[in-house]
């Protein structure tokens, strides 16, 4: 369809989509829902809306129309709240710029879906005429695709409206598929697609109580386990009410956990927990760290995720071993940073291949903390940072928030890596900590972070800084150690480490921080996690089959979006604090 034709049809090309967006917002706003159309459950209250992350958006589109569909736009950044993007997703809306991008992607996707090359696969029927409207075929397509995009069947009102759009555009443009494309684009830009809406309904078995609707349960389950929308079987189970029975729920959980797609969900969780969304944009000074590149950053993320999946899923290992394991996966690009020989047995110019690798027992590398992803992400562009590393270690792995630095701190000594007196980071931090205002927090972070000083800001191993031997002795909550390996062991044995991943995973699945009322459930999860040998799949299953995972919790009072943990110490935050 040409641009001119679009303009002929509507005064503004995006008008119809924006109208769709507004209608969608009305439809999912509880107080206005009745006025907009009669929902399936008029008593639905307290919806929790979570914006699809970019990965989730891509997964839903790929599952619905195939992986060859390209998106053709960019996503707004997801905010990190309380340590997780998964929580930030419940605190965000869509900016006008973001809406433009969603609209662009919607039209790009819709055009591909109905294109001559794709339509035989993506459209389940053929119109009576390609140059005229065909309500029956349009309805069939929109009903079929719509249930995966909305993660529930479209209501009659929704379906009728989408078919009407298809009819109107098809008639005016003389093209059935153009009409279909416009209608599909409306769905793709609607809040019902862009947001996961959690809905509740009266529980027929418990008078006066609410329960999550079957389709909301299906969504919660599939995004938690697969980081994708529900498949046909899960939607079928939701329709039948199976997800309201412990046995039916467990059957679906077990089916989904047996799927290779579980890896996708585990990757998404750990990517979020470890803040790996920041790695693709991580840059280093190429003069100081010439080996570090965007490719290394992306590969380092994949290395960590492969390590995690291999240990926790493939081998069903103890989660805590992630802090000490010598086993990992490497590309030649990463191997060169680690100074490890790795033969790439492929023709010249081929992409790097991933190879399983085990560091020797006497190698200083071991565990996630010594991998490039952690040490480079929690460093500055031109120098390492025991403070940032210690802070990340406490917040990411132990769930212990570290206060942001006070305003107007003088970082001059810490930043002066060529200081003739303070040659190592330890020397500089000790000097800096002479300021009693700084000392308190640095005690929380530096003794751990200094143990990782053998790894520079680009992830390479070193034994000296400015010609002086690096002292890696440190302490974590009264456990002393000599180096990174010792720190890994200390973290492995720290009770908060296992406890933290339980908190993180439950919050990630719920899209919010758990409340005090849920402490009993969380405590039970932790106890079970320990009892079952700290196995991640067991924890995932325990959460996914818990009634608490689908229970109604009154929405807390509205509060502004909090800044992310990492951003809390950023110059911008400090500037604002001033």
């Amino acid at each position: 369809m040409t641009c001119e034709r679009r303009i002929t049809l509507f005064k503004k090309p995006r008008q119809i989509h924006l109208l769709g967006w507004m209608a969608g917002l009305i439809a999912i706003t509880p107080s206005l829902a009745l006025a907009a159309e009669k929902p399936r459950s008029a008593e639905t209250v307290s919806p929790l809306m979570l914006r699809l992350t970019s990965e989730q958006y891509q997964a839903v589109v790929a599952d619905t129309f195939g992986a060859t569909i390209t998106l053709g736009g960019r996503f707004e950044p997801d905010p990190r709240v309380d340590g997780l993007l998964g929580i930030g997703a419940s605190k965000v809306s869509v900016s006008t710029d973001g809406l433009e991008q969603y609209d662009l992607m919607a039209r790009t996707i819709a055009d591909q879906v109905v294109s001559k090359e794709q339509r035989a696969i993506t459209v389940p029927c053929k119109p009576a005429s390609e140059t005229a409207a065909d309500d029956a075929c349009a309805r069939q397509f929109l009903e079929s695709a719509g249930q995966f995009l909305y993660r529930r069947p479209l209501t009659d009102v929704e379906l009728t409206a989408r078919v009407a759009t298809a009819r109107e555009v098809s008639t005016k443009l003389g093209s059935f598929y153009d009409g279909l494309s416009w209608s599909l684009a409306q769905i793709l830009v609607s809040p019902q697609f862009l947001f996961r809406t959690v809905e509740f309904e009266p529980d027929p078995k418990r008078r006066g109580q609410l329960r999550m609707t079957g389709y909301s349960k299906a969504s919660r389950l599939s995004f938690f386990l697969w980081n994708a929308g529900p498949d046909e079987q899960l939607l079928e189970a939701a329709l039948k009410g199976d997800l309201h029975t412990p046995r039916g729920l467990a059957r679906q959980v077990d089916r989904m956990m047996a799927s290779p797609r579980l890896e996708q969900g585990v990757r998404a969780f750990f990517s979020d927990m470890l803040m790996f969304d920041e790695l693709p944009a991580l840059s280093k000074d190429p003069i100081i760290y010439p080996k570090f590149s965007a490719k290394v950053a992306v590969d380092s993320r994949e290395q960590a995720l492969r390590t995690i999946v291999d240990l926790t899923l493939t081998n069903g290992g103890d989660y805590r071993d992630l802090f000490v394991t010598k086993k990992t996966f490497l590309t030649q690009n990463l191997a060169s940073v680690y100074k490890i020989p790795l033969v790439n047995n492929v023709p010249n110019g081929s992409p790097d291949t991933w190879q399983a690798f085990e560091f020797p027992a006497n190698d200083p590398r071991g565990g996630l903390l010594s991998q490039i992803s952690f040490v480079s992400l929690h460093s500055h562009a031109g120098r390492s940072s025991p403070t940032l590393r210690g802070k990340a270690l406490r917040e990411v792995f132990l769930c212990q928030p570290v206060p942001a630095p006070p305003a107007a701190v003088d970082f001059q000594i810490v930043q002066d890596t060529s200081n003739p007196v303070y040659k190592t980071a330890r020397d500089r931090l000790n000097a800096h900590a002479q300021n009693p205002v700084c000392a308190g927090c640095h005690k929380l972070t530096d003794p751990m972070g200094l143990a990782l000083e053998n790894f520079d800001g680009g992830g390479a191993y070193r034994t000296t800084e400015n010609g002086v031997k690096i002292d890696t002795a440190g302490e974590l909550d009264r456990i002393k150690f000599e180096d990174a390996e010792g720190l890994g062991r200390a973290l492995h044995d720290h009770p908060a480490a296992a406890s933290c991943v339980v908190n993180r995973m439950s919050s990630y699945g719920l899209g919010r921080v758990t409340t005090r009322q849920e402490n009993q459930w969380i405590d039970a999860l932790k106890a079970d996690f320990a009892k079952q040998g700290y196995k991640i799949p067991a924890l995932v299953r325990r959460i996914a089959t818990s009634p608490e995972f689908y229970s109604y919790v009154p929405a807390p009072a509205a509060e502004p979006v909090r800044s992310t943990m990492l951003n809390s110490s950023s110059p911008l935050t400090e500037e604002v604090a001033k």
Binding site: P286, I287, P290, K291, F292, S293, K327, Q332, N333, A335, S336, V337, Y338, K339, I340, P341, L342, V343, N344, N345, N348, G349, Q355, A356, F357, E358, F359, P360, D363
Partner: protein, 386 residues
């Protein structure tokens, strides 16, 4: 299968497999002796020039426009027509006419022939050459004479580097110790992106102390891999090509921390078919020092077949003559006159010219074929440098 390595900073053993392709060296190998090995990839390879202000009496070679004007006159064009042709060439209004004339400026039996393919059929334009006393390199033949340099760094006399003498008055070939000659910079920068890397492994009992070593050259099966700053990336693992034409083993030594070749044999390495077909050096000499980053930096020299070199430089014909190399058949004549090794038995014309190259190496790992598999391990393959 989990792979593990103890090679990150260790000693490799089993010297015999290292020289599996080098028959000459295998005979002198010490099979059971533990040897330390370090491997490197050549990051830079440029002609070693020592250009100074007054090294070219008569000046450096003229611009190609001036040279073409002279060539036209040499070909018998009347001055007015030659001037008109050059004017059109310089303005770009009709540059093809001059290019076509230059292309066919050779004469065999009075008939025009391609002057780049038959540079000997082009009248020698008598280009200037370097007359300075100092030049980088080695005394390759043990003799000293008026056509030898003294090395400005080592003060060694009798240095043979006629390549720098022949080409050193042409601007694209001029350079210093710190400034790489523009043409070689361009050629190597272009080739190294696609041409399989050149590798070198040194093996000895203790590479941190003086003593005898073995120097092994190979060509990799991969092209150089680069860092974000555009320099060759250290600690990459390269596979050594099993083609014996790319495998050279020479004796050497570390003396006063400097790595040298003491067995001055032939070094042969295949190169880019679109650049230089191969590098062949007879009476190979080398001296390298280790930089504070673990790289090696120094000189590689020997007698090199000069016609190979000419066709490497001259294959671009009028395009490269105009844009990068400057006058080409004249360089053929210069190299022919300066050639100082390997006389043709029938004509007496020397077929090789002494040449010295500035080389820089980065530490890498080298995997070699063993029992049908490329391995880096305790069987003699190279490890990354320190």
């Amino acid at each position: 299968m989990w792979r593990s390595s103890n090679l990150t900073r260790s000693v490799a053993t089993g010297f015999a497999s290292l020289v599996v392709c080098g028959a000459a060296m295998t005979a002198s190998a010490k099979p059971a002796q533990a040897l330390e090995t370090r491997s490197y990839a050549m990051a830079w390879f440029t002609a070693a020039m020592n250009s100074t202000e007054n090294d070219c009496p008569g000046g450096v070679h003229p611009s190609i426009q001036v040279q073409y004007h002279k060539n036209l006159l040499d070909l018998g064009y009347p001055p007015a027509e030659a001037a008109k042709l050059i004017e059109a060439y310089v303005s770009g209004d009709d540059d093809e006419q001059v290019s076509d004339i230059m292309l066919m400026r050779g004469r065999i039996n009075g008939q025009p022939v391609n002057g780049y393919a038959h540079p000997g059929a082009v009248v020698d334009p008598q280009l200037t050459h370097v007359t300075a006393k100092e030049g980088f390199g080695f005394n390759l033949d043990g003799k000293d004479g008026p056509m030898n340099f003294t090395d400005p760094l080592t003060k060694e006399a009798g240095v043979d580097n006629q390549l720098s003498r022949a080409l050193g008055c042409s601007n694209p070939f001029r350079g210093t110790y710190n400034v790489k000659p523009g043409l070689w910079l361009f050629r190597w920068s272009t080739m190294r992106d696609t041409t399989p890397a050149w590798l070198m492994t040194i093996a000895g009992e203790d590479l941190d102390t003086d003593g005898p070593i073995t120097v092994i050259f190979d060509r990799a099966m991969e092209h150089l891999i680069f860092n974000g700053d555009g320099e060759a990336r250290p600690d990459i693992t390269y596979r050594a090509d099993t083609d014996p034409r790319n495998h050279t083993v020479l004796k050497g030594e570390i003396k006063d921390g400097m790595i040298r070749i003491t067995e001055h044999g032939r070094l042969q390495l295949m190169q880019d078919i679109l650049g230089g077909g191969q590098l062949v050096l007879d009476k190979t000499h080398m001296r390298l020092t280790r930089t504070n980053t673990g790289n090696l930096d120094g000189f590689l020299a020997g007698f090199q077949p000069w016609e190979h070199l000419y066709f490497e430089i001259g294959q671009g014909g009028p395009a490269s003559e105009d844009m990068s190399t400057g006058e080409l058949p004249g360089k053929w004549h210069l190299m022919r006159k300066m050639a100082d090794y390997d006389p043709d038995p029938s004509t007496g014309q020397n077929r090789s010219i002494s040449a010295t190259y500035r080389v820089e190496f980065v530490p890498v790992f080298v995997a070699r074929m063993k029992n049908g598999e490329f391995v880096v391990g305790n069987d003699g393959a190279g490890e990354g440098g320190k």
